[in-house]
Each structure stands twice: as C-alpha cells, then as structure tokens.
C-alpha cells in the first residue's frame, strides 16, 4: 500500500510512544524511519527487523560515555537500537566538532545501525559535514559508508564487501562518526584493496527517489503497516460514555 510521509512519521511516533520511548526520542525515532523510507532505503524493513528486539530491550539504560576528551568520545550503547540511544551521542559529537573543528565519536554495541542515517541528516542540515562508517562482521565482511556534506540533508552511500578479510573476528556492532565543520569526507573507492560494490546511492539518485515518493506516496508492506497500527493503539484510552462526554459534543446534529 501507499502512505504519505506525514502519515508514516505520525504512526511511527505513536508506535514508539506506545513502546515507552520518551517524547523526544519517539519523535526522533519516527523521523529516522520515515526519512529512510522516503528515500526508498528500507526504513520500515529495518524497523520491522528490529521490532521484537526493540519491544524487549530495557528502556532504562542510557548510553554510557566510556572515554571522552575535547574532540573524541567512545560510548557504550548497551546493545540498544540506535532509535532509542543514538541521538544524544551524535549530538555530543556535534558539540565537540563545533568547539574543536573535528570530532570522532564511536558508539559501541548498538543495534539497527542503518536507521541512524536519518538523524545524521538533521546534523548535516545544521551545517555539519558528517561521515558514518560501520562494518558487519559476518561473511562476506561488508562495510558501509554514509557521507553528508554540510547543509545537504541527502547523503552519498556505499556498501561493499571486502575481499581480504582480516583475521580478527570479534563481533563489530559499532558505528564510527567523523564530524567536521569545514572538511567533507566523501566516498572515494580508489583503494588497491579488492572489494565488491553491493549498493551505491548518489545524492542525485536519492533526491530523485524523494521527489517520486512525495508525488506518488511511499510504498509500505501491508502486514508491517498493520502491525504498526496495532502497536500504536497502546497510546489510546478505552472509550466509555463518560469519556465521550470528555470530547464535549453531542452525538447527533440539531441544526
């Protein structure tokens, strides 16, 4: 089925509120999902993959700062979804980059990493160059780079498989962010190392996608939509005669 961006964002917000997200986090998470889906980057699929995980995670554990100095921070996301845990970690990097010109933030142990792109887009819109990098530690070993120029809310994205796999096999569930005021880091696939390109999204391709979804609506899976609708009902209050009175009107017309 087709839905609008506003409709998708509104439903996701209610879903996250129903899961117990704080109001600010619910809005941010909804933005992240709708942003990805609006660019046809599979936001809802990513959300659906992590939905059971989200429903079961402990909401009371905020990310911890393991180390920080003026321009570097390492945080522990405690395995939570980036939907719940990443926004303030990213904002910490933004504050450091504003103060020092460049900042590096590493968020260890986070889940649903794809979804962080929507929040990074907002930072770029506020004038920050943002590059995010993460690796998946399963075969084949893949790397993903997401790069936003300052003041552009649309990224360049590359996903590729690395042929020369390193010996260390420790699970890698971190995201590394590089934030700079005046230096843009963009993908440049010119290494001598061998790789297989899995996905390549240019700014112009993504802009065209957004134009199309704005004109034609956003495709969503009916079953996923139905599940989200069901979850969103958690924020609603049962109706009664007394509560109908709480809306303040009669039930029939008399004019």
């Amino acid at each position: 089925m087709k839905v609008s961006h506003n409709e998708l964002k509104g439903l996701c917000r209610k879903v996250f509120e129903g899961m117990g997200f704080e109001e600010g986090d619910a809005g941010d998470a909804a933005d992240m999902v709708a942003w990805m889906q609006g660019y046809r980057l599979g936001g809802l699929e990513a959300l659906n993959r992590g939905l059971n995980y989200l429903l079961n995670e402990d909401s009371e554990v905020p990310p911890d700062v393991l180390y920080q100095d003026g321009d570097l921070a390492v945080l522990d996301g405690h395995g939570q979804s980036v939907l719940r845990s990443s926004s303030l970690a990213v904002e910490l990097g933004f504050a450091k980059a504003r103060a020092r010109g460049l900042a590096v933030v590493k968020i260890r142990h986070c889940h649903n990493r794809q979804l962080i792109m929507g929040y990074l887009s907002r930072l770029a819109g506020r004038g920050m160059n943002v590059t995010a990098f993460w690796r998946n530690a399963h075969a084949p070993l893949t790397e993903q780079v997401v790069c936003f120029r300052s003041n552009s809310t649309v990224p360049e994205i590359r996903v590729y498989a690395v042929q020369e796999v390193p010996e260390e096999t420790e699970p890698n569930d971190a995201i590394t962010l590089v934030l700079t005021n005046h230096t843009g880091l963009m993908p440049a696939m010119r290494s001598d190392y061998q790789y297989d390109m899995i996905a390549k999204h240019s700014e112009s391709d993504l802009l065209e996608c957004r134009k199309q979804t704005l004109a034609q609506g956003i495709d969503v899976d009916d079953q996923v939509w139905a599940r989200l609708k069901e979850l969103s009902a958690r924020i609603l209050v049962e109706s009664s005669d007394a509560s109908r009175g709480g809306a303040g009107a009669g039930t029939t017309d008399n004019d």
Partner: protein
C-alpha cells in the same frame, strides 16, 4: 532570533507576549484581513482563477457525483463531490461518525476515470479508506436539515428562502473535518509548499470548503428544479452571498496549536506586526469615516449572531453594547496623527478583550497595502533542533527570562492538575479526562508545556550546582527525558510569540479559547459554542461567489470587502428567476 526566521516587525513596537499570548485574549480574536479565507479569496481574484463544472450527475434527490475544475495561471485542479442518502440517525458532527451526506476532495492535475473510480470507492469511507496521493484535501459534510429542506421547499415553490434562516444557521452544509497534509494517504503538505497556488497554510483546505459552498448552492437548486420544473427558481444572488459553510470543531484543534509553536508564532507575529504598522499610520478624515462604517457593520453583524451558549451570548452582548462608545469616541476625538494609537490605548483601558480585538481587526481593514504583505509570511520552516553546545547556564537564563510565566504556576494543588488530555481509541479523538478519577492518565498527551518547563528547570538548577560549566548535551546525556522540552525552549525562547501562556491542566481552563484562536486565523465567524470544548461556526459567509470570481472582478478592493456580513434586506421572496442547470 534564529537566522532563518522572519522578522517582519522591522523595529516596530509589538505588543508584549505577556499580553498577546494570554489564552483568554487569544480566545477573543476575530477573523481579519490576514485570515486564510480572506487571503484565499484575494489570491483567487488577483490571479484570475476560473472554476467550471465538468460533471453534474445528480438524481432528483441530489445524490450522485459532481466535478468542478479549477484553472489557475500555474496549474489545474479538480474538486470531486459524492452525495449519498443518509439516515437522519447516522448524521453526527463528531469525528467518530462513519457516514455523511457529502464526501469530497480536491485533486491536483487531471481527473481520469481510474482516479475517479478510486475516489468513488474511498472518499465516502473517509478515514477508513485509502486515498490517492494526488488528492490534496479530504473532507465530508452533513446537511443542516432545517435549512436544506426549507431552501428546497422555497425554491421549488418559486419563492426565495427567508434570509433570517441563514442568520440563525448560516449554511446548508457543515463540515466535520477537512483533512490535509498526508492524512490517510493524501498528498503531504511538502508537495504544496514548493508550488504557487496552495503554498500558504490551510489554503487548499479553505479552497475545498469554498467549492463545497458552490456545490451546496447548485445542489439545492437542482433538487428544487427536479421537484418542480415549472415553478422552481434560482437562489437570489444576495442570498447566495449570505450563505456560508458551517464547521464543527472540537478538542482536536488544541494539540495542533501546542505542537506547532513555530507556525503559531509566525501567525501571531504577522498579525501583530501588521497591527503595529497600522497603528503607525497617520489617519485621514476618510480613514476615520471608513472605520466608523466598519464598526457599525460589525456591530450589526454581532447583534445578528445567534448562539445558545450563554457565555458567548454575554460576550456578544457586551461587545455590541460597547461599540456605540467606540463610535462616539471616533466621532468626537480630534484627528491627531497618532489617533489609532490613542484609540487602542483607550480601548485597552475601557473595553473588554473581545471588543479590543475587534477594534484591532477593524483597523487592519483600513490599510490593505500595509497589511497584505504579511499574508506571505504565515508559513514557517518547522524545525526544532537541539543546540547541544549551549552552556547549560545559558539555557537556565533563557527559561528564567522567556518562560518565567511557566515557572509561576503552582502545580501542587488538585485544581492546578485537574485535567489530563488523551486520545480515545475511538478514531483517536482528543478528549479531556479528570485526573485521579478517570482512567488513562498514564497515556496522557504532553500538551501542558508549563509543568515540563518547571521540571526541566528544577533538574537544570540541580545539575548546575554540581557542574556549573556543563553544556546542554552533557546534562541531557544524564537526564534524556528533558530532551524534547529543552529543544523547544531553545527554539522558541527568543521568538516574540509562539507559546500560549496557560496551564492546560487547570480546572478553570477554557478549551474554547484554544479553538477560537485557531479558527480566527482560518477566518471563522458566527462562533456558536455547543459546550466549553465544542464549537460550530461559519466560513465564507458573505464571500464573493464563483460566478463573480469567474467574471474577473475589476475592483479588487470591493471584491475583498466582505467581512462581518449582514442579513440581506429587501429580498423579494416571491422573486422568480428561472433556474438553470450547471454547465
């Protein structure tokens, strides 16, 4: 003020937020030149919009399909109406209704059979249907039974309906929701923002309502003709003009006002800036007499406004009773260069809020060239972003300076925390419940800003005691629950308006003020509260007709002069004009 925001005031003396943003004053606003219905009518006339009927397949009872085409210099649109039989018992103006007399929408571009079929299957279902992204507005309306039947009877019998019927209830149809911005699959507002026709807030919704008014006239004439082809007459033009469209509105408007502070700030700032410029104008004798004429018209309009609500009756009565004083003042005070400033200062000292705001509204009628540039400044780029590197002590200063009103409330009493706002499982209708008595408080909508500001302020003070040099982001890493309110404070603190200054939990809260504030910007008149949280009102009463628009009016000032409409006098109720079918 943020870099990308608009400051149309340009150094003018704006009224302080402490005065303007008091809820009771906002609930005393009247429709003005900057209201969206007025702006739309001016835009249609300036740009020579043309509206034509391309399909009118209604049976003798008026049921069927009608399609109207809108051609602007920039594009083409279609208004599609489905009229169906409805049991009287199913006719409700609540959002929880499931069937309506008429369902309708406005479509961008051409209307092919496939799209029309899709709309025929889904528009009548409203919220339960899935709408096409080419649909810009989705709405529905119910008949005013008394008026509709009376109008059909009169026209069919070859006489004009009584104008007094429209004074009592100013419409044949009353809408119960006019959906835009992506609801149920229709186009996002972002689609319209880049365009040249409907980029202003709510303009496409207002256009849909304007088309419904035209349809209501054509439909009622059609039914009269079908009933009595020999005797039926068309509705008198003056009476047509006096016919508006009703709207029923409840608490659903309140969350919008609270959740769009940047947009509300822009609406109020534009209105206040226009008013400030008007007050700086040096009046001529002609200006003075124009204001006297407008005041007399408004007085008569309000004396003709019918409502069963005692509080609104009293407010109307007080306003009507005090307007002779305004007229006396205007007729006797010397024509000084600062006459308008003298007038508003005198009004603030001596008149009730609703009359004060009426005087302001009327003053804005005098200077179209001064006021109208602000109609393009009613939109806002709504982005509420964190400023993580702000020193926390600076944030505390912002709260102390700009949210002092929120810190003054005492939330320790039962009265101060009496209501909670929530969404019902019935179509997510917003409702008010009594805290500690009714279920659902744990699912409360966070509309009350003041308690959240207080809680954040307390937490900030505690944190600063330990970390006086902390940044906002460092505080939030420890206390993330305050993120949303901190962002809002940072975004709104240095804008002149935007936060409505009220305790939305308080037992004495009058939700009606919230509704009326928003409706005044829409351009609503004839406020007829049905309770303290439910109101009926009228849009486009007195507005120029489609045929007047299509005739490309030469005098735009005259075309635009339709505020505070009066009951037509001297209509020959036996007049017989041969009714003609729509083209």
């Amino acid at each position: 003020m943020r870099e990308n925001s608009i400051n149309p005031a340009g150094g003018l003396h704006l009224r302080p937020a402490g005065q303007v943003m008091q809820l009771e004053r906002l609930g005393s606003l009247h429709a003005s030149r900057l209201s969206f219905v007025r702006t739309l009518v001016r835009q249609m006339a300036r740009q020579r919009w043309q509206i034509s009927c391309t399909r009118f397949d209604l049976d003798a009872q008026g049921h069927g399909t009608a399609v109207y085409r809108l051609q602007t210099p920039n594009g083409r649109y279609h208004g599609v109406f489905f009229s169906q039989p409805l049991e009287d018992s199913a006719r409700s103006d609540r959002v929880i209704a499931e069937a309506w007399d008429v369902t309708f929408g406005v479509v961008e571009g051409e209307l092919n059979d496939e799209l029309l079929d899709q709309m025929a299957a889904n528009l009548p279902l409203q919220e339960a249907g899935r709408q096409d992204p080419r649909v810009l507005v989705l709405s529905r309306a119910n008949k005013s039974l008394r008026n509709f039947a009376g109008f059909v009877d009169a026209l069919a019998e070859g006489r004009q309906p009584e104008p007094a019927w429209l004074t009592r209830v100013g419409y044949l149809y009353r809408t119960t929701a006019v959906y835009g911005n992506g609801k149920f699959g229709i186009a996002d507002y972002a689609r319209l923002q880049g365009g040249r026709d409907f980029s202003r807030p709510f303009s496409v919704q207002m256009f849909a309502v304007y088309l419904l008014r035209h349809f209501s006239i054509e439909q009622v004439e059609h039914i009269a003709r079908a009933r009595s082809p020999e005797n039926a007459v068309a509705m008198n033009t003056t009476l047509r003009r006096y016919l508006g469209i009703g709207n029923s509105t409840g608490l659903g408007m309140a969350p919008f006002l609270i959740n769009h502070p940047q947009l509300i700030q822009q609406w109020i700032l534009s209105r206040e800036s226009a008013l400030a410029r008007v007050l700086d104008q040096v009046p001529t004798e002609a200006d003075r007499w124009r204001l006297i004429e407008l005041t007399r018209r408004a007085m008569q309009h309000l004396s003709q406004t019918v409502t069963e609500d005692r509080a609104q009756q009293e407010r109307n009565r007080e306003t009507v009773a005090s307007l002779p004083e305004v007229l006396n003042w205007l007729e006797t005070v010397p024509l000084d260069t600062d006459l308008w400033q003298q007038l508003t200062a005198w009004a603030e000292r001596t008149l009730q809020l609703e009359t004060q705001e009426l005087v302001n509204t009327l003053l804005m009628e005098l200077y179209p060239a001064v006021v109208e540039p602000f109609e393009d400044q009613m939109s806002a780029d709504e982005k509420v972003e964190l400023v993580p590197d702000m020193p926390l002590v600076r944030l505390k200063q912002l709260i102390d300076t700009h949210y002092d009103w929120a810190l003054e409330y005492d939330f320790s009493t039962r009265e101060a925390c009496y209501w909670f706002w929530y969404r019902s499982i019935e179509k997510e209708e917003p409702r008010l419940g009594v805290r500690h008595e009714e279920p659902g408080a744990e699912k409360e909508m966070l509309l009350a800003i003041a308690p959240r500001v207080q809680r954040a302020h307390d937490a900030i003070c505690d944190y600063l005691a330990d970390y006086p040099r902390a940044l906002v982001v460092e505080f939030l890493m420890q206390q993330p629950r305050h993120k949303e309110i901190v962002r809002r404070i940072q975004a709104m603190a240095e804008t002149p308006y935007g936060e409505i200054r009220a305790n939305l939990w308080h037992r004495d809260l009058k939700p009606m003020h919230l509704l009326r504030a928003k409706l005044s910007f829409f351009g609503a008149g004839r406020f007829d509260p049905k309770s303290d949280r439910w109101v009926r009102m009228t849009l486009f009463q007195g507005a120029p007709l489609v045929e007047e628009l299509n005739a490309e009016p030469a005098n735009l000032a005259d075309f635009d002069d339709w505020s505070f409409p009066l009951e037509p006098q001297a209509i020959d109720v036996r007049q017989s004009t041969v009714g003609e079918a729509p083209e």
